[in-house]
């Protein structure tokens, strides 16, 4: 519950925060000397500024927006593909299931880092590519989880009952299997979001993430790490926001999973 | 051994703490089991009959609390420290659960599990334990007992597993055996054998409490019957009298619901309207009133107390004809 509130607050902050500040995200405050200034109330740089004199408060919230956007879209992609793939494989079973899951196994074995790097090099760095690449990797785990659930579900009597009604396989999958795995899917999707944010942060850390002037929490952390000794707030602020967001998402996912278990019992 | 009943439950209540609040499963039940007697506790789902005995022996699941007095051979079992319970449970009182697969450890052989019952307590040495295990398997009419000793539970059929569970319960030569739905999961031919096994045990002087919903099994083996509904006892009687002239409308309804091989085939089974109340329901008035064909206004306002008369008791404002509580019958709280 607390986690949910925290997340909602963070989202609100991310959306509303920049409005509160007089500064723009890429506006350089030339009045500062040096450009990197610690947090102060007087200059309205509540989180301080980064190495280029840009207000950190605003940049952090913009970065949060981007991180969340990438995470949600990438998770959405993996959910859609993963659920469709896993539910079909699990329900059909037999050799179809075998082949479908072998595909997943092979893709799993590929080093996704290389994959993303190659894509980035070929297509350039862009936001769309970001969540496509992440989503393309994320659906594998979702597919496995959903397939396991579908395998268990197809033995349940209400699925047998649907078969005796003469319903075709695709109807059974969409009407009976998918709604009954949604609970698990929601839980794992909630736990996937922090993984995606971390992955995106990692890519940004490597310099492969979002491009300027857009920023993300990962980029901010990467930049802040370079200035760790001289301007610690540049690292601490985005890192704290990132940590809080991840923590809250993980708690939310755990809480959802416990609630789901209790209901199924 | 002390005089008096072997096992005595007095005003036992069992509550469960759930996220939705306290759910009472058993409300103030009092029961006695005499030495060598077979008492059947009958009821449908939600009646609380399993929880009654799990609670009295300290075997409740997490969140369950039992209050009241439980005496075995004069000794109070529900004392806080649980010492009396630990001494008695597994040696003089044994419990057989409904699902034999759950009662047996899958990775230990039958012989090992049987022997452990006495070895763990230091009651005898390994050779004596093995001999006793064989004896117990013979007592439950297990075919080829020697070869069974080395087998694992999954190699046995359901009926055989249940017999091993009963054998384990008999290892320490207990005075009381509490069996919770021992035949429900079994085929009818296997059930007949398990009933024979329980009969043999009774012939040797073992007192048995049989928790069941199967009236046929009750008729085969019980001496006395207690009928439970919604966490309370509604009737107790010797078995022949209960079947011949039940006093409580619920008992009568149950008996009329069971299709019988020996009766002429009527067109309709009698059944009881409605469904059993959900566990934990505790409304004012008689819990059976909504389903009872004999309900009076009084039934919905005032819960009938259990009235004892001779060797029968019943909790009903309008008991069936043929049963008259004599004037001066004392109420059992």
């Amino acid at each position: 519950m607390a986690a949910l509130i925290a997340i909602v607050l963070l989202i609100i902050a991310a959306l509303v925060g920049p409005w509160l500040s007089p500064w723009q995200p890429d506006q350089v405050d030339w009045s500062l000397n040096p450009l990197a200034a610690p947090p102060s109330l007087a200059s309205a740089h509540w989180f301080g500024t980064d190495g280029n004199g840009r207000d950190l408060f605003v940049r952090v919230w913009h970065g949060t927006r981007v991180s969340l956007l990438v995470a949600l879209l990438a998770t959405a992609v993996s959910v859609v593909i993963g659920v469709a793939w896993g539910a079909t494989a699990g329900y059909l079973g037999g050799r179809t299931d075998g082949w479908m899951m072998r595909v997943v196994d092979v893709l799993y074995a590929l080093p996704y880092m290389f994959f993303v790097i190659i894509l980035t090099v070929v297509f350039g760095r862009s936001l769309w590519l970001m969540f496509l690449a992440i989503g393309a990797v994320g659906w594998l785990t979702m597919a496995r989880i959903v397939r396991g659930q579908a395998l268990a579900l197809r033995r349940r009597e209400f699925v047998t009952a649907a078969v005796t009604l003469g319903l075709p396989a695709h109807r059974i999958i969409s009407r009976h299997i998918v709604p009954n795995v949604l609970g698990t899917v929601i839980v794992y999707a909630t736990l996937t979001v922090p993984q995606v944010i971390l992955f995106e942060s990692f890519l940004s850390f490597l310099g492969l993430g979002v491009q300027e002037p857009l920023t993300s929490l990962g980029r901010l952390v990467a930049e802040g790490a370079l200035e760790m000794e001289t301007a610690p707030w540049q690292l601490l602020v985005p890192a704290s926001v990132l940590a809080l967001l991840l923590l809250a998402l993980n708690f939310l996912g755990d809480g959802l999973r416990d609630a789901l278990d209790a209901r199924q019992r | 051994m002390e005089p008096g009943p072997l096992f005595q439950i007095h005003d036992l209540a069992v509550d469960f703490a759930t996220p939705h609040g306290i759910v009472p499963a058993v409300h103030g039940v009092s029961l006695e089991v005499a030495r060598g007697e077979c008492l059947a506790v009958v009821g449908e789902s939600g009646a609380g009959k399993s929880q009654l005995f799990l609670g009295s022996l300290g075997l409740l699941a997490a969140g369950g609390v039992a209050r009241g007095s439980v005496r075995f051979d004069g000794r109070e079992l529900l004392a806080d420290d649980g010492e009396a319970r630990r001494e008695v449970l597994g040696t003089r009182v044994s419990f057989v659960f409904q699902d034999p697969m759950n009662a047996l450890t899958p990775h230990l052989t039958v012989g090992r599990q049987l022997a452990e019952v006495v070895l763990d307590r230091g009651l005898m040495g390994p050779d004596a334990a093995r001999a006793r295990s064989l004896e117990a398997l013979r007592a439950v009419r297990m075919p080829a007992p020697e070869s069974r000793m080395g087998q694992y539970p999954h190699e046995l059929s359901g009926g055989q597993r249940q017999r091993v569970a009963i054998a384990m319960a008999l290892m320490t030569d207990p005075d009381l055996l509490v069996a919770d739905e021992p035949t429900t999961a079994l085929d009818v031919t296997i059930q007949a054998q398990v009933i024979e096994v329980l009969r043999d045990a009774r012939d040797r002087g073992l007192a048995v409490v049989l928790v069941t919903h199967d009236l046929g099994v009750v008729a085969e083996i019980a001496d006395r019957v207690a009928v439970m509904y919604a966490g309370r006892i509604v009737e107790t009687a010797p078995v022949r009298e209960l079947f011949a002239s039940p006093a409580h409308p619920y008992s009568a309804g149950l008996l009329a619901s069971v299709p019988r091989l020996d009766a002429s085939r009527e067109l309709r089974l009698q059944g009881i309207e409605g469904q059993p109340p959900r566990a934990g329901a505790n409304d004012a008035g008689c819990a059976f009133a909504p389903r009872c064909p004999r309900t009076q206004p009084r039934c919905r306002q005032e819960r009938p107390a259990l009235r004892l008369a001779g060797n029968r008791s019943t909790a009903c404002h309008v008991p069936l004809a043929g049963y008259e509580a004599p004037a001066g019958a004392r109420g059992v709280p």
């Binding site: 003469g166 009407r175 709604p179 | 007949a192 009236l215 008729a219 079947f243 149950l254 009329a256 091989l261």
Partner: protein, 341 residues
């Protein structure tokens, strides 16, 4: 006599059995073996047997949920094959099933009304919304449920109510044959009686045929006119109801009848007990001879060597026992009772 609706001949359905060791070949084991079965229009047939006898597998084969290894299943004279979509469609419309687990047979994510509507539309084609809702409400009322329960989910209802919903789902498209696979076994006794009465009523009202599968002989006696007894995949006896109970002609039937507890202490005490030798194997029939021989008190070498087939021994009476003539007289429990209650 008109042709039966359902006709099963020589059915064999099998599964690979557990291997006894890593090196030994996987054995194939027939859950259903050489089964013949007929159900005529409006007839109620009971199939009795204990766990592992193959009765559920037989039901699944009739519903075209399993592919038989051998034999023929015909519905209205046309062979039923899982790869023939047109025949399957016809079969599904006219043959429906009620399962043992009332709550498990309903999709927990669909309301009662949605489950029944889905059945109606799948079997009778898409309906106008009002017509469908009206028909669903009427069917719910018919099975003894208040139509307002249509918006509830299965976990909000009791076991008995869920089973009524399952029955409503099965009959909403007016099937000609209703298969009940242990449909009352998971219910409390008082609720069982209600459902048994309901099934009898529905059958009478709609002229539905019934294939009632159960291990509970007393319930089967209440509902069915013809009874088949199954043991380890084979039909061992078949006869009209009263004949089976008055003069059982197979040792297994006798053992079953002798084992059924009678809710009457006096009768129970007076009843002769026919002890049945315990099963020592894993539920597979012996490789040769009668499947029941290992447990039969009357078995001899002939029985162990040659598997008996079902032979007609009276009007509509069949038994698969070599020594059926030698079985002694049967004291049915009814003759033991001295007074009616």
């Amino acid at each position: 006599m008109s042709a039966p609706l359902l006709s099963v001949r020589g059915l064999r359905v099998g599964f690979p059995a557990r291997r006894t060791g890593l090196a030994s070949p996987r054995q194939w084991h027939a859950a259903v073996d050489s089964v013949d079965l007929d159900v005529a229009d409006g007839q109620a047939v009971g199939l009795v047997g204990e766990s592992g006898c193959g009765k559920s597998t037989l039901a699944r084969a009739i519903l075209a949920l399993e592919t038989p290894a051998a034999g023929r299943i015909e519905w209205r004279g046309k062979p039923v094959r899982r790869d023939d979509a047109a025949v399957l469609r016809g079969l599904r419309r006219e043959v429906q099933v009620v399962f043992q687990d009332p709550v498990g047979s309903l999709d927990p994510r669909m309301t009662v009304g949605e489950s029944v509507t889905e059945a109606l539309e799948a079997l009778a084609g898409r309906q106008a919304r009002d017509a469908a809702a009206a028909r669903v409400s009427a069917t719910l009322e018919e099975v003894g449920l208040d139509a307002s329960l249509a918006i509830r989910y299965p976990h909000e209802l009791s076991g008995g109510q869920c089973q009524r919903v399952a029955i409503a789902r099965a009959i909403v498209a007016r099937p000609k044959l209703l298969i009940c696979d242990e449909a009352v076994s998971a219910l409390d006794v008082s609720v069982q009686a209600q459902i048994v009465n309901l099934l009898a009523e529905l059958r009478a009202r709609h002229g539905m045929a019934l294939l009632f599968i159960s291990h509970n002989l007393a319930v089967v006696r209440h509902l069915c006119e013809d009874i088949l007894v199954m043991y380890l995949g084979r039909i061992v006896e078949r006869a009209p109801r009263e004949v089976v109970f008055a003069t059982p002609r197979h040792p297994y039937t006798r053992a079953l009848l002798a084992s059924v507890p009678i809710p009457d202490p006096t009768a129970a005490a007076a009843r002769p007990r026919e002890p049945l030798r315990a099963v020592t194997d894993t539920g597979l029939p012996p490789p040769t001879g009668c499947a029941f021989a290992p447990r039969c008190a009357a078995a001899d070498d002939f029985c162990r060597g040659s598997a008996p087939s079902l032979v007609e021994v009276g009007a509509g009476e069949f038994t698969a026992c070599h020594h059926w003539r030698a079985l002694g007289p049967w004291a049915s429990p009814g003759t033991v009772r001295s007074t009616a209650s």
